[in-house]
Symmetry: C2
Subunit: 123 residues, 2 copies
């Protein structure tokens, strides 16, 4: 068995020119808007960040209900929206489903939003 070394992608190599560099086309905008829509709910944002910051990079669905004041079916619905937007992926192992973030998708959005900050003197 040969030793295999995979490159670690840096955020700026993953994809997508910043939207400040050139105007977005219709198809890209439609796809990206769908991903941003998945991020447009406070509970979904907190769920995503909880999964992303979980030790080992993945969280059991059994750990994801406690911190929220909403029902288990509501959490399941939000997780489904995040998964369908390509922001998380999941796998059933025995009784529980485990979730982890899709870093390439997050970095795609991150790169898109990077903006140069102009140095303004005065006003």
């Amino acid at each position: 068995m040969s030793k295999q070394v995979l490159p670690v992608l840096q955020p700026d190599q993953t994809c997508c020119a910043p939207m400040t560099r050139e105007p977005l086309g219709e198809a890209d905008a439609a796809e990206l808007a769908r991903m941003f829509k998945a991020l447009s709910d406070p509970v979904r944002l907190r769920l995503l960040s909880l999964i992303a910051s979980y030790e080992g990079g993945e969280a059991c669905v059994c750990d994801l209900t406690g911190p929220f004041d909403v029902s288990q079916p509501t959490i399941s619905h939000h997780l489904k929206v995040l998964r369908e937007a390509g922001l998380v992926d999941s796998e059933r192992r025995g009784t529980w489903v485990y979730y982890w973030v899709q870093p390439v998708a997050l970095n795609r959005l991150s790169a898109l939003l990077q903006a140069p900050v102009p140095a303004r003197v005065g006003a």
Copy 2:
């Protein structure tokens, strides 16, 4: 009058730990979700990117209707949503209103979404 040199903020200095580092609190999530909601419409995303990539960094509202197959009042509504979310700012000069992006706000969202990509060998 003394010469004034303002620092140029780099994206990673602007604000906010990546959401992969620690779970978002309720207040931050509510505020950020509002900004993502403004990005969740394809026409708004294209408008924002058109403004951001405009020569000189600002665009007259008179240049923002042509590329879209929607009415002027609809464009005005979308621009209002972007402005209220803190993603663009505007100023009237004579007949026209001019728009520019708020780079600090965009970079805040960009930093939030940065995710380390794990080097996975095999599956």
